[in-house]
């Protein structure tokens, strides 16, 4: 087992800010990211940055990622790229699968800055080749310079969907359809997307991009059995944190979108505060970082953060979340409508379990996500539930009336990713 100072998991804006801040204080810092390069979501976005610092503002996000990389390199932080942190255990040790093998790390302090994943909801035809998440589309367009299709439909109505539509057009694709509500979308074709229809409109298309927004990915922290609460704004559970972003497990911090931060500026400011706190910076420095974080947050977001402190049990209000499109998706998925196309659609892509099968498990008595999982295998596949847990919770909520706040997230167990057997074997040695 290797022992080290501070380990930051995730080299997106939050993780980079945390690592730079901790290094400033003079602590030894290692930052781990599963991708070959640092920058997190910035790597594949081209929108100009706003609200970080003078050197970064105005740069396309992907160029800013390069600048952040240079800052890391100059700071003495050791960067472990291409390495997945796949388990955070009761004893505080961290399991890592790196390109050259697996190992365990015992860190003095850990900052989880694992960001978010794309929020997706099932719709008819969503397993067809040609249907991609927003990130996949941006990665293809900007990192690999390949169009996911020439005629593309975009699902979603928020800022992410607007960014995707603009990205696609800039790269030379045609956006043939925009739809807000995934429950209304039908993609069809012979072995791949050929047509898309929504709200009475029907278009020939060769790709569909799901840009419904992002959902926090705090899996590693949840594995460590930290106290968590419910975020009404995001409609999901999040680790509870102190004012210094420490979880109920001493020495374990969560920062950025993994903890529910809404944007880049907040993620960056959270990262800096967590890094300083973990490194034991002076109270003055910490106070300055707290003020900067307060400025980066909207009043509504600040109020939510204040309600979600360890020991507070979080919020429990019987709401679906922030309304459309989830509410209408949940109602459509629960059935009873005339047109029940969703019943035959895979809710769990990996294990090919349909919405109808999950609905039946609920009718037969499943009351929790773990119940559904045991009865149907939904959520037991290689994606570890990241693309289906939200849909399961919405379906439970809509068919049983259980408030989303009371639907506990799936029990998180290592590994968080499918990892090569060799990594496990080496750890046992």
């Amino acid at each position: 087992m290797k022992t080290t100072g501070i380990v930051v998991i995730g080299a997106g804006p939050a993780g980079i800010a945390a690592a730079l801040a901790a290094a400033e204080v003079g602590t030894s810092v290692t930052v781990i990211d599963e991708h070959p390069a640092v920058g997190g979501q910035l790597r594949w976005r081209i929108a100009p940055l706003r609200g970080l610092d003078e050197a970064l503002d105005g740069l396309p996000a992907c160029r800013a990622a390069e600048t952040l990389h240079e800052r890391l390199a100059a700071s003495g932080v050791s960067v472990l790229a291409g390495a997945v942190a796949w388990g955070l255990f009761e004893d505080g040790s961290l399991a890592v699968a790196a390109p050259d093998g697996g190992f365990r790390l015992q860190a003095e302090k850990i900052v989880v800055a694992t960001g978010s994943v794309d929020l997706v909801l099932p719709f008819a035809g969503w397993t067809l080749p040609g249907v991609l998440t927003a990130r996949a589309a941006q990665i293809m367009l900007h990192l690999h310079r390949v169009l996911p299709g020439r005629r593309v439909a975009v699902i979603g109505e928020g800022l992410d969907a607007a960014e995707l539509a603009s990205d696609l057009e800039m790269a030379g694709a045609e956006v043939v359809l925009r739809a807000a509500d995934p429950a209304q979308v039908v993609a069809s074709g012979e072995g791949r997307v050929e047509r898309v229809s929504a709200n009475g409109e029907r278009r020939e298309a060769d790709a569909v991009v799901i840009a419904l927004g992002r959902q926090p990915d705090p899996e590693l922290a949840l594995q460590a059995q930290v106290e968590f609460g419910y975020s009404v704004r995001l409609g999901c559970h999040l680790p509870l944190r102190s004012e210094l972003l420490e979880t109920s497990r001493p020495g374990l911090y969560v920062a950025g979108e993994a903890a529910g931060a809404v944007d880049l500026a907040e993620s960056f400011a959270e990262g800096r505060l967590a890094g300083l706190a973990a490194a034991g910076a002076t109270p003055e420095r910490i106070a300055t970082a707290q003020e900067a974080l307060a400025r980066a947050r909207s009043p509504e977001r600040s109020a939510e953060v204040d309600r979600m402190r360890p020991g507070s049990l979080g919020e429990a209000r019987p709401e679906t979340g922030t309304g459309a499109p989830w509410t209408s998706w949940a109602e459509a998925a629960a059935g009873g409508g005339q047109d029940d196309t969703l019943a035959r659609v895979a809710l769990c892509r990996c294990e090919q379990v349909t919405v109808g099968e999950v609905r039946q498990a609920i009718e037969e008595g499943a009351l929790t996500i773990n119940d559904i999982k045991r009865r149907t295998r939904a959520g037991m596949g290689l994606c570890q539930g990241i693309f289906c847990t939200r849909a399961m919770a919405l379906l439970l909520h809509a068919s049983r009336g259980i408030p989303l706040s009371e639907i506990a997230p799936m029990t998180e167990r290592p590994p968080t990713r499918p990892i090569p057997l060799a990594s496990l074997v080496e750890i046992e040695e």
Binding site: T127, P129, R145, V146, R150, L382
Partner: protein, 117 residues
């Protein structure tokens, strides 16, 4: 932007981009996909090479042989599993192309070697 990028038939590459500029020359890499020769660009992942040539299907699922292709491009969904040089269940979205690589798209038959599932 007044000029649409010239993606010729069968070529989905983004040669011109108003923010990213021209696509730089890359060394061509010869690979074989389901028995057919195909030219990829050095440094790209297999999924990009397949998509650029209009190949969308990576695998077929056990149930109904339902076809799947790149969904997340981040190694999280496993819809892009293919067989590379005899090794099954390789994620096309994370694995770089290499000269002489022999790739078979996968019909849901590969063995998963990891502990998950």
């Amino acid at each position: 932007m007044d000029e649409a990028p010239s993606n010729g038939a069968g070529d989905l590459r983004v040669w011109h981009h108003p923010v990213l500029g021209e696509l730089q020359e890359a060394r061509p890499v010869q690979i074989t996909v389901d028995g057919q020769p195909l030219v990829a660009r050095e440094g790209e992942v297999i999924a990009a090479a397949l998509l650029a040539h209009g190949i969308l299907v990576c695998r077929a699922m056990p149930r109904g042989r339902e076809p799947r292709g790149v969904f997340c491009a981040l190694g999280r969904c496993s819809d892009c599993l293919i067989t590379v040089d005899g090794e099954p269940n390789v994620r096309a979205c994370l694995t770089p192309v290499r000269e002489g690589q022999v790739i078979w798209t996968q019909a849901g038959l590969g063995r998963w070697e990891g502990p998950a599932g």
